[in-house]
C-alpha cells in the first residue's frame, strides 16, 4: 500500500468581484476602505420592502467572462435565493444563480470550465473580541459596505493535478480577467477569492476519491501551500488506512494547520428557489454584440502573437502576455516609432531590468516612460551606449525619470568606440599590466579581461568591450 503513488484531482471555485461602478442590485457605489456602513442603502441593507434590480453592467461583464472562457451563454438565465442565516447576509438569503446560470461549459488553457454565474457578495464581519456589553462574550460588528458587490463565480471541472498547476492556472485566469477589465483581481483586497475542491487517487486510476473543500484562500502563495498541505494530509490518511472525510476546511497560512470549518451536522439546506423579485435575464443580440465588441485580445492569444509576430521565445512571450501590465508597457514601448525602433527581444530584456528595479507591479507607474525605455534599448543596440552604461542610465531613469539621451549627454556616458578616444586608454591599460601583455603576446588570450576591466573602470563603463579587444589585437599584432 505505502508504495502507491497518488495523484491529486483539483477543481477550483473562484469568486471575482466585478469592477462595476455600483453594486449588483442597488445604486450604492463600490469602494474600498471607506468607514463602515457609509456605502449602504435600503436595498443592500435588506430593509423591509426594498427590492433588488440587477445591474446591467454586471450582466455585461458576466457575458465578457463567458466569452473569454469559451462558455455557452444562456439565452435565458434566472436568479435564485440561497437561504441561510448569517449576520453578513442582510436578507437571510443570497441572491445567486442555481440551475439556470448565465454561462455553462467552457475552457481556459487546459482546464475546462463547469459554469460561471452571477451573485452578490456578503458584507464584512469584524471581530471585536470580548465585549463587556454582552456579558463578556465574543462580539463582532457588521459593515455592509461590501455587501451586494457583484460577484462572478467561476467553477472549473476537476482538471488540475497539482498545487503548482492550480497556482499557474489561477494566474492565467487572473490576467485574463484583468485584461477584460471586469475586475481588479486583487487577492489581498479580496476581489479575487478562491476555494479548492481536492481529492486524491492512486495514479493511473480514474475513480474520484472523497473530496474536501479548502475555503477562501487569499493569496497565490497560500493557495499553493494550502493545496499542497491538504494533498499531503489526505495522502497521510490513506497511507495510514484511514478515510478522507468530506468536509469544509480552513488553511492557516501562519501555522500551515488545516482545520474543519463545519461539522456534518451543520450541513446546509439552502432551500434554493427562484428569486421572485427579479425577472429572468434574457440575453439579446444587442447585449451579445456589445460584449463581443468589448472583448480585448486575451493573454493566451497575445502570447501567441508575441511569439509569432515578434519572434519572442514561448517563455518570454507568456511572461509578458500573462501579466497584462507588462504586456501593455511592452507594446507601448514597441509602438514608439522613434528613429530606430527597438528590437523586441532586447526591449523585453530591458523591461526585465526595469521590473527588477521598481517596487510596483506595473512599470507604467514608475518614472520611466515606455518611450524612454525604448530609446535606451535602441541606443544600446546602436552601440551608442554600452550595456553597462545603459544600466546606470536606467538607474537614473528609475530615480528621476527623463530622457536617456539627455542623461547620457549630461553624464558623458556615451559609448567610446574605436578610434581617437579609446586608443590612449587601451594603451594606458597595456602599459600598466606588462605581465598580461606578455601572456597575450604568447597567445594566451584569457587575461584580456584584465585589460577590458581596466578600460571599463577608466571610462566608467562607456567603452565597448568588443572595440577594446580589437584595439588590443591591433596593437599587439595578434
Amino acid at each position: 500500500m505505502s508504495d502507491v503513488a497518488y495523484e491529486a484531482v483539483i477543481g477550483l471555485e473562484i469568486h471575482v468581484q466585478l469592477s462595476t461602478r455600483t453594486k449588483m442590485f442597488c445604486g450604492c457605489e463600490l469602494g474600498f476602505g471607506e468607514p463602515p456602513n457609509t456605502r449602504t442603502c435600503e436595498v443592500c441593507l435588506g430593509l423591509p420592502g426594498a427590492l433588488p434590480v440587477a445591474n446591467a453592467e454586471a450582466i455585461h461583464f458576466g457575458l465578457m467572462i463567458g466569452l473569454a472562457l469559451d462558455c455557452d451563454l444562456a439565452p435565458r438565465s434566472i436568479f435564485h435565493r440561497k437561504n441561510y442565516f448569517y449576520p453578513d447576509l442582510p436578507k437571510g438569503y443570497q441572491i445567486s444563480q442555481y440551475d439556470e446560470p448565465l454561462c455553462r461549459g467552457g475552457k481556459l488553457g487546459d482546464v475546462r470550465i463547469h459554469r460561471v454565474h452571477l451573485e452578490e457578495d456578503a458584507a464584512k464581519l469584524i471581530h471585536l473580541g470580548t465585549s463587556g456589553r454582552l456579558h463578556g462574550s465574543e462580539a463582532s460588528i457588521v459593515d455592509f459596505n461590501r455587501g451586494g458587490t457583484p460577484l462572478a463565480e467561476i467553477v472549473t471541472e476537476p482538471d488540475l493535478r497539482s498545487a503548482e498547476d492550480a497556482g499557474e492556472w489561477l494566474r492565467l485566469l487572473r490576467t485574463t480577467l484583468r485584461r477584460l477589465g471586469v475586475s481588479d483581481v486583487n487577492m489581498e483586497e479580496g476581489s479575487l477569492r478562491c476555494d479548492a475542491n481536492i481529492s486524491i487517487r492512486p495514479a493511473g486510476t480514474h475513480e474520484l476519491g472523497t473530496k474536501t473543500e479548502l475555503k477562501n484562500m487569499n493569496s497565490f502563495r497560500f493557495i499553493e501551500r494550502g493545496i499542497r498541505a491538504e494533498i499531503a494530509r489526505q495522502e497521510a490518511l490513506l497511507r495510514a488506512g484511514e478515510p478522507v472525510v468530506q468536509e469544509t476546511l480552513h488553511f492557516d497560512p501562519r501555522t500551515e494547520a488545516i482545520t474543519s470549518l463545519r461539522s456534518k451536522e451543520e450541513a446546509h439546506d439552502y432551500r434554493y428557489f427562484p428569486e421572485p423579485d427579479l425577472t429572468p435575464v434574457g440575453i439579446t443580440d444587442a447585449m451579445l454584440e456589445r460584449a463581443r465588441a468589448a472583448m480585448p485580445e486575451l493573454p493566451a492569444a497575445r502570447a501567441e502573437r508575441f511569439e509569432r509576430e515578434l519572434g519572442l521565445p514561448a517563455d518570454g512571450a507568456r511572461l509578458l502576455a500573462w501579466r497584462t501590465e507588462l504586456g501593455d508597457y511592452f507594446e507601448a514601448a514597441l509602438a514608439d516609432d522613434g528613429d530606430d525602433a527597438p528590437e523586441p527581444q532586447a526591449l523585453a530584456n530591458w523591461l526585465n531590468e526595469l521590473v527588477a528595479r521598481i517596487e510596483t507591479d506595473d512599470p507604467a507607474e514608475s518614472q520611466v516612460q515606455p518611450r524612454a525605455l525604448a530609446s535606451l534599448a535602441a541606443m544600446v543596440a546602436g552601440k551608442r551606449v554600452t550595456q553597462n552604461a545603459a544600466k546606470q542610465v536606467l538607474d537614473r531613469l528609475v530615480a528621476e525619470g527623463g530622457d536617456p539621451a539627455a542623461i547620457v549627454e549630461a553624464e558623458g556616458l556615451g559609448a567610446i568606440g574605436a578610434g581617437d578616444e579609446l586608443e590612449p586608454v587601451v594603451q594606458q591599460a597595456l602599459d600598466a599590466n606588462p605581465d598580461v601583455v606578455a601572456k597575450l603576446s604568447a597567445g594566451d588570450m584569457k587575461p584580456i579581461g584584465v585589460i577590458v576591466g581596466h578600460v571599463m573602470r577608466e571610462t566608467r563603463g562607456r567603452a565597448d568591450g568588443g572595440a577594446v579587444t580589437r584595439i588590443v589585437r591591433q596593437k599587439l599584432g595578434l
Binding site: 420592502g49 426594498a50 427590492l51 433588488p52 442565516f85 454582552l134 457588521v142 432551500r271 421572485p276 425577472t279
Partner: protein
C-alpha cells in the same frame, strides 16, 4: 360647505377643484374622525395637516395606507411586534406617487401581521372591528383599510392583496377593493409577504374612486423589476349597460361551503347583470379547486424567505443573548405571532431538502395550470364572476383556533392571485344584515374593462353602504 365626509373621494376631489371645498378642512375633518377611531383600524394617525395644501389631480383628498407600506419617518410595522417602533428611512413608491398626485398620508391602517390572515386578528395591535357589527371581523389582511373606508374614517385607502387580502375585507366591509394585474403597481417599499403574488390596490367606497386612485398608483417603477404598469391609461368608468358581455361562473368554484345568504345575494346580482344585457354562462376552471393548496405552499415558502431578514441585527426587536443562534431564535420566537410562525414553518418545510419537488415544484406547476385555465376561460367569456368570500363577516375569534378553516376564506380569491390577473370585489347585497361581495375577474391588464363592468353593475345594484358610516 357640504358635509365633506359624505362625499366619495372623487366627489371631494372635484369639490376641491371647483373651489367648493378647502383641502385643509377636508384633511382636518378626516383627521378628527380617524383620531377618534374606535374600530382599532389605525396604528398611526397624522398629528396635523400637511403644511403645504396638496396640489395635483387628487386635490388633497387624504389617504389611509396599510401599515406594511414603508413611509419615511412614520411607523411602518406591518402589524408585527418584530418591527416595533420601526420608522423606515424611505417611502414606498406607490405612496410617494400618490403623494405627488396630491393625496396626503392621513393614517397607517391596521392589518394582519405581514399580511398573513383573513380576519385581521393576527395583528400585534389587536383585532380590527367590523363597522357593520363590532362583534365581527372586518376580514383581512387589509382589515384596517377596509374598516376605515367603510366607516368613513378615511376617504380611501391602500391595501395589498396576496391571496385575497384586498378583496375579502372589502367584501366583508361592504366596500370596493381592486387587486390589479400582478406588475401593474410597484411593490417597492411594500413589506413583502409573498413576492410573486403581492400586489397593492385601492379600497374605496365605490368603483369610480377605485379607478381614480388606481390611475395614480399604476406605472412602471425602475426600482421594482417586476413592475410593468398598464398598457393604457386608467379611465374613469362610465358604462351603464352590459350588453354583449359574457360572464362566466366557474363550475369548479361554487357550491360547497358557501353560505346560502351569500349565494342568494350573488345569484340576485347575476340577475341584475342579465337585466343589463349580460349573459351568464358556466365556465370550466378545472384546476381552480387546487388553487388553495398550491397557494398555501407557494406563499408560505416565499414568506419564509422574505421574513428571514427579521433577525435582530439591523432593525426591529432583538432578544439579547450571548450567542448568535440564541439571539436569532429567541428574537424570532418573541417577535413573530403564531400565524406568521406557522407559515414560516410551513414554507421552510416545503422548500427543504427532499420536499421541494413534492411541494414547491408541484405547486408551481399547478400555478401554470390555473393560469392556463383562465386563459382558456377568457376565450369563452369576458369575465369570471364568483362570490368574493364563501361567507359574510364572522364573529371575532370564531376561526382563530382552526387555521385551515381560516384559510378556506381565500377559496375564491386565490386562483386569480396565482394567475396574476385583475379582480375586483364590489358589494352586491346583504346577508343577515352583513355585506356580501361579488368578485369579477378579467384577463391580465384588462383593468379598464373590469372597472367598467363593475361600475355598471354597481349602479344597477345600488348598494347603500352609508349604514356603516356614523
Amino acid at each position: 360647505m357640504t358635509d365633506a365626509v359624505a362625499l366619495t373621494a372623487a366627489q371631494a376631489a372635484a369639490a376641491v377643484e371647483a373651489g367648493d371645498l378647502d383641502p385643509r378642512e377636508l384633511f382636518e375633518a378626516y383627521r378628527a374622525r380617524a383620531a377618534a377611531d374606535d374600530l382599532n383600524a389605525f396604528v398611526w394617525v397624522a398629528g396635523e395637516a400637511p403644511g403645504e395644501p396638496a396640489s395635483g389631480p387628487l386635490a388633497g383628498v387624504p389617504l389611509g395606507v396599510k401599515d406594511l407600506f414603508c413611509t419615511e419617518g412614520v411607523p411602518s410595522q406591518a402589524g408585527s411586534k418584530i418591527l416595533e417602533g420601526y420608522r423606515p428611512p424611505y417611502t414606498a413608491s406607490v405612496v410617494a406617487r400618490l403623494a405627488e398626485a396630491g393625496a396626503p398620508l392621513l393614517a397607517k391602517t391596521n392589518q394582519d401581521e405581514f399580511a398573513m390572515g383573513s380576519s385581521n386578528e393576527n395583528s400585534a395591535f389587536g383585532p380590527v372591528l367590523n363597522p357593520w357589527d363590532r362583534s365581527r371581523v372586518p376580514g383581512g389582511s387589509s382589515g384596517g383599510s377596509a374598516a376605515a373606508v367603510a366607516a368613513g374614517l378615511v376617504p380611501w385607502a391602500l391595501g395589498t392583496d396576496t391571496g385575497g387580502s384586498i378583496r375579502q375585507p372589502a367584501a366583508l366591509c361592504g366596500i370596493v377593493g381592486l387587486k390589479p394585474t400582478y406588475g401593474a403597481v410597484s411593490r417597492f417599499g411594500m413589506i413583502a409577504f409573498a413576492s410573486s403574488l403581492d400586489q397593492a390596490g385601492p379600497l374605496t367606497r365605490d368603483v369610480t374612486d377605485a379607478a381614480l386612485l388606481f390611475r395614480h398608483m399604476t406605472g412602471r417603477d425602475p426600482r421594482d423589476s417586476t413592475s410593468i404598469g398598464l398598457p393604457e391609461e386608467v379611465r374613469l368608468p362610465s358604462a351603464r349597460r352590459l350588453d354583449g358581455i359574457r360572464l362566466g361562473v366557474p363550475d369548479d368554484l361554487t357550491g360547497e361551503g358557501v353560505e346560502p345568504g351569500v349565494m342568494a345575494a350573488f345569484e340576485a346580482a347575476l340577475d341584475r347583470a342579465r337585466e343589463l344585457g349580460a349573459t351568464v354562462e358556466r365556465v370550466a376552471l378545472p384546476h381552480a379547486d387546487y388553487g388553495l393548496s398550491a397557494y398555501y405552499v407557494l406563499a408560505p415558502a416565499e414568506a419564509s424567505s422574505n421574513l428571514a431578514r427579521f433577525d435582530g441585527v439591523r432593525y426591529g426587536l432583538r432578544v439579547e443573548a450571548d450567542d448568535l443562534l440564541t439571539m436569532y431564535t429567541r428574537t424570532r420566537h418573541d417577535g413573530f405571532g403564531a400565524e406568521v410562525k406557522r407559515r414560516i414553518m410551513l414554507g421552510t418545510y416545503a422548500l427543504s431538502s427532499g420536499y421541494y419537488d413534492a411541494y414547491y415544484g408541484r405547486a408551481q406547476r399547478v400555478r401554470t395550470k390555473i393560469a392556463e385555465d383562465f386563459k382558456a376561460a377568457f376565450d369563452a367569456v369576458d369575465f369570471v364572476v364568483t362570490p368574493t368570500s364563501p361567507g359574510v363577516a364572522f364573529e371575532l375569534g370564531a376561526k382563530t383556533g382552526d387555521p385551515l378553516s381560516m384559510y378556506l376564506n381565500d377559496y375564491f380569491t386565490v386562483p386569480m392571485s396565482l394567475a396574476g390577473i385583475p379582480a375586483i370585489s364590489i358589494p352586491c347585497g346583504l346577508s343577515e344584515g352583513l355585506p356580501v361581495g361579488l368578485q369579477l375577474a378579467g384577463p391580465a391588464f384588462s383593468e379598464n374593462r373590469v372597472l367598467d363592468a363593475a361600475f355598471a353593475l354597481e349602479q344597477a345594484l345600488g348598494f347603500d353602504g352609508s349604514g356603516a358610516r356614523q
